[in-house]
């Protein structure tokens, strides 16, 4: 091999892509030619400099967690493709809901689902005892760093029990308890930090994107409004929870004022 050839294939040689014979040829030439040796050294050090300097960020922990959840969601869906059943409401009601909520499936679950369920299922006492949404909003005013605005549900469907301070996704949350006969519902309100809201199914209804998940016998719906994230949990099936939300929408009221 002469200088010309070595120069031409220097990169291939340095990339370790030459077979044994060619490699020995190049090395034989480098052993005798200082100019080519200097060129090779230059190339090698350039490559090393690039490799050492190029940022190699690790995937953020929050993203890793979300990804693992999404993969799990994918798994659950593929083995139980029809997990959401509407059998607990009469056929006419199902039809009405289907017309309004034509669900589409999105990927992944939010890790917030588990947290919301855990706040809901833990029997913590309320700190303020009132059936008035106005009073609850007022009570939170001095206690959290965001302005709690509650949806106005039809009182026939849902009665307000009270509220307490709570936390969700490492930030302050307003926890509001509701009741409908023996069924319990919890609404968590937190400041919106713009994270992805996911569910087994998401759909735009009026001006809200609702994301719904069923897990461990609970159902959770997320939506966001005016800089706040709302998570509503019920120890019922998804269709009951949707009916409750629908009652607020049906009165022509947004899910937050």
């Amino acid at each position: 091999m002469d200088c010309q050839e070595v120069c031409r294939f220097l990169q291939v040689y340095l990339d370790g892509e030459f077979d044994e014979d060619d490699r020995r040829d190049v090395e034989a030439h480098l052993a005798t030619c200082a100019a080519c040796r200097a060129r090779a050294e230059y190339e090698r050090r350039f490559r090393e400099a690039i490799r050492a300097r190029i940022p190699k960020p690790a995937a953020p922990e929050a993203f890793r967690a979300r990804l693992v959840q999404a993969m799990r969601g994918h798994r659950d869906r593929s083995s139980f493709p029809r997990r959401l059943v509407w059998s607990s409401v009469p056929a006419a009601a199902v039809l009405a809901l289907v017309v309004t909520f034509t669900w589409t499936v999105t990927s992944g679950f939010s890790p917030m689902v588990d947290e919301a369920i855990s706040r809901h299922s833990t029997e913590t006492p309320v700190e303020v005892n009132t059936a008035s949404s106005d009073e609850v909003e007022g009570w939170f005013r001095a206690k959290v760093d965001f302005n709690v605005a509650l949806p106005r549900f039809s009182s026939r469907r849902l009665s307000l029990v009270g509220a307490r301070l709570s936390h969700m996704a490492e930030r302050q949350a307003a926890l509001v308890r509701y009741r409908q006969g023996l069924r319990r519902y919890s609404l968590l309100v937190t400041a919106d930090r713009g994270e992805a809201m996911e569910g087994q199914r998401c759909q735009r209804v009026e001006q809200h994107e609702l994301c719904l998940t069923e897990r461990r016998g609970y159902s959770v719906v997320f939506w966001r409004s005016r800089g706040l994230v709302y998570s509503m949990v019920g120890d019922t099936g998804a269709s009951d929870l949707l009916e409750v939300l629908h009652s607020a929408l049906a009165r022509g009221e947004p899910l937050a004022p």
Partner: protein, 214 residues
């Protein structure tokens, strides 16, 4: 051959674990490809979900990391195509592919003096900036070879291009990268320009402007 539900779930869990070993590499590359954190996360998540869906197509014993990179690159290309409908991103490349297939016989670079190892004084920000400024196809081969350590044949498969094209793009990509870095080094005062190098800087700025406009 039939597997019980439990065994199937177990094999799937193992596969998921193996896939997650490559998360940092895929994420880091996606970040350089998209230059945006949220877009990179979406791309990586789509890649994992797609890989799960098509896991039966993965041949055990072959390179899982290369297989996932290929999937990510394809997803990205398809996304870009959808986004800029009508503007074929590869159109320009196929055209000079023919010319690239033969390794360009570069004129011999002059022997360097030790003080010209300017790149060893550069910061990682400079390198990232220079890499991001490379035309997409050169950037991809440099990312795959120099950052992820893939071999020519693996890169050829990931990008679905001939090995000869990999070689020429890689070599030209590295040269462009060095030229960019050299221009930054002058801009930032790491090195003093000589007469010839001033001309290079002008050319670099022009090409940078062209890219920004185009």
């Amino acid at each position: 051959m039939f597997f019980s539900k439990g065994k199937k779930a177990e094999r799937r869990a193992v596969f998921e674990e193996q896939m997650l070993e490559h998360l940092d590499a895929l994420y880091g590359t996606a970040l350089r490809m998209t230059a945006d954190r949220a877009t990179a996360e979406d791309l990586v998540q789509d890649t994992y979900l797609r890989a799960l869906r098509f896991r039966h197509k993965f041949e055990p014993g072959t390179n899982l990391r290369a297989w996932m990179f290929r999937m990510m690159v394809n997803l990205h290309i398809n996304k870009c195509r959808r986004e800029r409908r009508g503007r074929q991103i590869h159109e320009g490349l196929e055209r000079h592919d023919m010319a690239e297939r033969v390794l360009p016989s570069e004129k011999m670079a002059p022997t360097r003096r030790p003080e010209e190892y300017f790149f060893e004084r550069m910061m990682s920000d400079d390198v990232a900036r220079a890499l991001d400024a490379l035309p997409r196809d050169f950037k991809m081969v440099v990312l795959l070879a120099d950052i992820n350590g893939f071999r020519y044949s693996q890169i050829a498969e990931i990008l679905n291009i001939p090995v000869g094209t990999v070689m020429s793009r890689l070599h030209r990509g590295r040269r462009l990268l060095r030229e960019s870095l050299h221009a930054f080094a002058i801009e930032e005062g790491y090195i003093k320009p000589t007469e010839g190098e001033t001309a290079d800087l002008e050319a670099f700025r022009r090409s940078k402007q062209d890219r920004e406009v185009g």
